[in-house]
Structure formats: C-alpha cells, structure tokens
Symmetry: C2
Subunit: 311 residues, 2 copies
Amino acid sequence: MNVIERELSRSIDTDHALLNEASLHLLKAGGKRLRPAFVLLGGKYGNYDLERLSHVAVPLELIHMASLVHDDVIDNADTRRGQLTVKSKWDNRIAMYTGDYIYAKALVIVARLQNPEIHRVLAKAMVQMSIGEMEQIRDFFNTEQTVRRYLLRIRRKTALLIAISCQLGGLAADAPAAYTRQLYRYGYNVGMAFQIRDDVLDLCGTEKQIGKPPGSDLRQGNITLPVLYALQEQDMQRTLLPEIQRIHESDGATDVTRAVEMVKQSRGIERAEQLADRYIQKAMDALQKLPEGKTRKHLQEIAHFVAKRSH
Amino acid sequence: MNVIERELSRSIDTDHALLNEASLHLLKAGGKRLRPAFVLLGGKYGNYDLERLSHVAVPLELIHMASLVHDDVIDNADTRRGQLTVKSKWDNRIAMYTGDYIYAKALVIVARLQNPEIHRVLAKAMVQMSIGEMEQIRDFFNTEQTVRRYLLRIRRKTALLIAISCQLGGLAADAPAAYTRQLYRYGYNVGMAFQIRDDVLDLCGTEKQIGKPPGSDLRQGNITLPVLYALQEQDMQRTLLPEIQRIHESDGATDVTRAVEMVKQSRGIERAEQLADRYIQKAMDALQKLPEGKTRKHLQEIAHFVAKRSH
C-alpha cells in the first residue's frame, strides 16, 4: 500500500499549480484506499506483480476520487444556499475540471496495460457510475421509489467500482477465470453492504464519526434504505412524509433532526442493517470458493470491518 | 459520415430517459463533425476500414461533446447572473453528469480497439484538455498574459484534439508512421487556426452567424488573441484596459459593445487573422509531405474553410 500511495501522489503531479493543489488536497484528505487494497488482494490469486497491479489500483482510486470531487461540485453550491458568489463559481469550475483531470490521469495509467478486457470492464463501470449519479438526482425526494430502485442505484453508484476492483486485481494478475468471478461477487456484495452501512451512518453516526452533520442525505433529498423502510410503516409514514416534504420545500435549508429521529424510532435502521448483513454473508459465500490462506482471511476481515464500521 | 452519425446516435443510447434526452439534445444540436471527418480522411492513408475507424471517430466526437457540455455547466450559472435557482441547480448537475456519461461512453467504444498506442494518445490528450480548461479559468480577465500563453492554452483546449483526430485515423488504419506524423502536424495547425478564427468570430460575427451574442468571450473574461494584440497598442490600452476592468467588476453583467468596438478599431483582428493564416500555411506544408490525391485535396479544402468560415 505504500507503493500505491507513492504512485497516487506521482500520478496527479503536474506543473499547473492550481490543479496540483486541488488534486493533492483531495489525495491528502485520505480515505480508506479500499479499492487499491482490493486490487492488490485480488492479485494474490494470480501472478502477483506489484507494478502491473498498481496500473489498475491507482486508476481505480483516482476514478473514485474524481467521482467524489464531481459530487462536491453540487454540494458546494448547496452549502451556499443557492447564492452563487464569484468565489463559489470558481470553486465549482475548479472542482469539475479537477475531476476531469483526475479521470484522464487514471486513463493514462491504465493505458499502460494491454489486456483489452481490463479497458472494457473499466469503461463499462464508468458508464454505469455516471448513470447511477444521474439516477440519484432523478430520485431526490422521491419517497415513492421502491427498495429495488434504491438497490439498483447503489449498485451503480458504489458496488460496481468495488466489484471491479477485486475483479481487475485478478485480471491484471492473470488469475484463473473462476477466481476472478468469485472476486467480483465478493466485491459486489461487500460494496452493497458498504453503501448501506454508509447510509445508516449518515443517520446514526455523530458528526465527529462521519465528518458531516447527521442527516445530510435527507437534507439533500437522498432517500436511503432506512428511510424507505421507515416509510413502509403506516404510522411512521403519516408523520415522516410531511416532514420530508417540508425539507424538500425548504430546499434543504432547515433542521432535519426531527426526520432523523423519526427514522431512528422506526425499524428502518435495524432492517437496513439486516440487509447489509445478508450482503456480507453473500460476500463470505463467494470467498468460500477461493483457496484458503492469508489473502482470504484478509478479505474476510475487510468484509467484517465494512459491516461494523462507525466511520 | 452517415455511418458515423448513426453510430453516434447509437453510442449514447440508454434506457435512462433523462440521460438519453440530454445526450440526444447535444447530438442533435449538431456541429461540424470536424473530428470524425478528420479521422476518416486520416484513415485513407492506411488500410481504410470504416468499422475500425468509427471506433475512433465516434469517441473523438463524443469527447468533444462532453467537453462542451462541461463548459456549459459554468456558462449556465453565468447566464443566470449568479442567482442559483433550483432549476438551474438541476441543470448543472445534469450537464456535469451528462458530460461524465458521454466521456465514459467514448471509452467503451475505444476499448474495442487493441492498439495500446491509440489508448495512450487519447488519454494523454484528455489530460492536456482538462489542464487547458483549468488554464482558461486561471487566465480569465488576466490582461497581462502573453500571446505565447494564449497559444499554449488554445493548443491544449482545441488544437490537440483535432491533431489526434487526424493522427488516430492514420493509426487505426495502420498508416505508415511518416504519414501519421504529418497528419498530426496538419491537424495541430488547422486546430490552432480554427480556434483563432473562433475567437475572431466572437468579436466580428453577428449573433445569427455565431449563435451567441458577440463579445461573449470578453464578457466571460476569456482574453483572446485579438484583444491581446489590441492591448499591445498604447493608445488602445489606455481605453480598453479600464473597459475590461469594468466588465470584470460587473461580473459580466454589463454591455460589452464598447470593448468589442475598441478591439475592432485596433489592428488586433487583422493580426490575429494573419497568424491564423500562418497556421493554415503550416498545415498546407504538412500536406505536401503526404501523397497527392483526392484525400489530400479534401484536407486542403477543409483547411481553407477553417480559415475563412463565418460560422
């Protein structure tokens, strides 16, 4: 992981001062580096070659970073309550183009690999991710969406990139196809659990734990699984629905504590956690089809961490 | 070109209604399809295979479209005079993610080609393009920038993508390296002339010709070549500089007619046109090193069109 970290820094280096600053800021902000870790672990099931693997691991983390910075373009505007100052305008432009720059840098690195399968898998996942982002916008404040729709959305938004991180690790190491398939299955299920856990934490975590005020999703109109489950309870629906409507009408510029408390009083959190656990169980099932050893143990530990994490 | 047009429509097809609508709108808005045309013409210098060539031509037009829609994210906000309505917020998100989607779709198509050189060239150009966009932001209202800096910026912003369109046409058709090099040179110089002509038209064209009010660049703070030349004239500088300062302070929400008229009274337009002509001449020189024939004639005609176009 030290090698990956160094390569990440090197990858975004440019003599354009502003871009350098913005990209480095993003990189330093850290993150769990989950995707590179999965690539390296996936690579253990084939011919482990750190250089080749880094040409997948670094781009995947960069793509993740770029997608986050594009999310921020929108969030920035929100924070300023719809008032677009010159400064915020500049930030938005810079955030968007920093994202574009990081995407492109990711492609330069992955272009070093010749395996066309890798390019295909990556490009297709990027398409799905951008559709997922659009779906999130479409479904903002849509309280009538089904659980299935929520799951499809987080699959695109989060689970796919984690799934292909595991898969591409295997592919870049020429692991047997049967292993690569199980790596994908493991990653997909861990990714689903990861996002559900994220959505639960947004409601139940403290500001210190999650680095943002609780209820940020609701404020933005992002209707997550615990909320959808809560809305299935008739009593809850009667009080929660108008409250969400109120948040919508205020364009997010209101206190969301009451709505958060309602969801916490429902069975929504518990049921969401149960579903996350089921995904973790499926991830573990996929691992059972991979050879025993240290790598498998690591992958199991990560799956457990994902399900229980509080940050 | 009919095949390319059909493939362009097919390429962006998705069952996500909003994305479909936004992408199709972009596609229908048209454009000169200059980049695909250059790919096909470049392909004539090797083994012309329309299917292979379309796997380069379509992505290049998509990348061009995506970069335009990302430009619009910012322009949209400007038009609304800094006031961010919910509707404009949605437009911005949608424009940004539509751009991301189209970029990703471009990659899916180009992933069908195995030649790693093609991936390398394309990814590197995308990096340069995003740096160019950032430079444009950095240089907004910077009246002290040199002509060299302007040229470097339009090289990244425009000329490179046109250069690699010619080059990748050759590469995808396995044309001799000597031809591919000249195709790149031709495209680069045509691209430079194209952007200079664009910048001249923004000042001298009618709203009907250019599809936007004249002086849009100045309003946005985009200091183009004719303006830089005008500022080199001492008399002009005394009146033009405060006028640009005034536009800057009004954040573009002002009449730019006076500034436009000043530039038109200077020698800026004429000198910019002369430089564009020199680039066209260099493009013609590059063509001299390619075999004579119908294709070369077409490329010459396009170069002439670029230099003289009024739309």
